[in-house]
Amino acid sequence: MSWRHAAIAEVRPETAHAKTLVLDVDGWPGHRAGQHVDIRLTAEDGYQAQRSYSIASAPESPRLELTVERIEDGEVSTYLVDEARAGDEFELRGPIGGYFVWHAGLDGPLVLVAGGSGLVPLVAMLRHRRAARDMTDARLLLSARTADDVLYRDELAALGAGDVAVRLTLTRAAAPPPEFPEAWTRRIDRAMLEELGPAPGTGARIYVCGPTPFVEEAARLLVELGHDARSVRTERFGPTGG
């Protein structure tokens, strides 16, 4: 699995702190929803930094898209969000990952639980579901700080008005935003997951993604609710350690 040349075709702001990079990647072999890529940046003096980013685009999408959230003092994310522009190049390898993937045609309801930018690989699954005209029962619970931090806000509102159950909880907002009048305003808890459903024993395939503490709490609650631990797939985002 070698490093390929990638060039930014377009930069699309998502929120005040996040942007989607639309990429042209030499020889891109295609991917499955939920997979990620590793990218490698090289400075003029040869210094290199490497990070992983989940693929936001559906496999059916003509171009590869990554959504990057700016982390305060982040070495790579601050470059990608503050500086990078169309025409910039870096190296990329992937697609990577076979554990945290979903494709249309798998049985069972699809349950997605996202914390912050953990939404990225899960939105790829929803985009793929839509592109494949798949009718699987799909539900999303997103936890974000405020309405302004919600990635793909309009798209999620449209999905929610369509055939996906989209639930939102905001941990630092006083009240639900107009597009999501039923949003909760607290940290993820058992009651939310119970209301999201479906009930255990219906063969749900559950994907949880976000910062480690969020994922561990959500996974714990899901198992406590009675879901088979093996049906809960997790992907933890965290600091790269330097």
Partner: protein
Amino acid sequence: MHTDGNAIAGVLEEVFARDVTATDRVCQSCRARRAIGAHRLFRGAGMVLRCPACGDIAAAIVAVEQGYAVSIRGTWLFK
């Protein structure tokens, strides 16, 4: 603070020439069977993968000049 085996899926694919995040491992200490993607990943001087049930070492990976020094424990069930 840790993440999980998904975070080093790229490195593991370099080593094994295939995705291993969906590969199950049976722990040598506690006999729990979990996917590599579900194992806890710690980044120290090198990468340390630990059993999510008991915390014992599943793998230690050091990026060396020519490649990787990979120490593997437990039974990994490749299909």
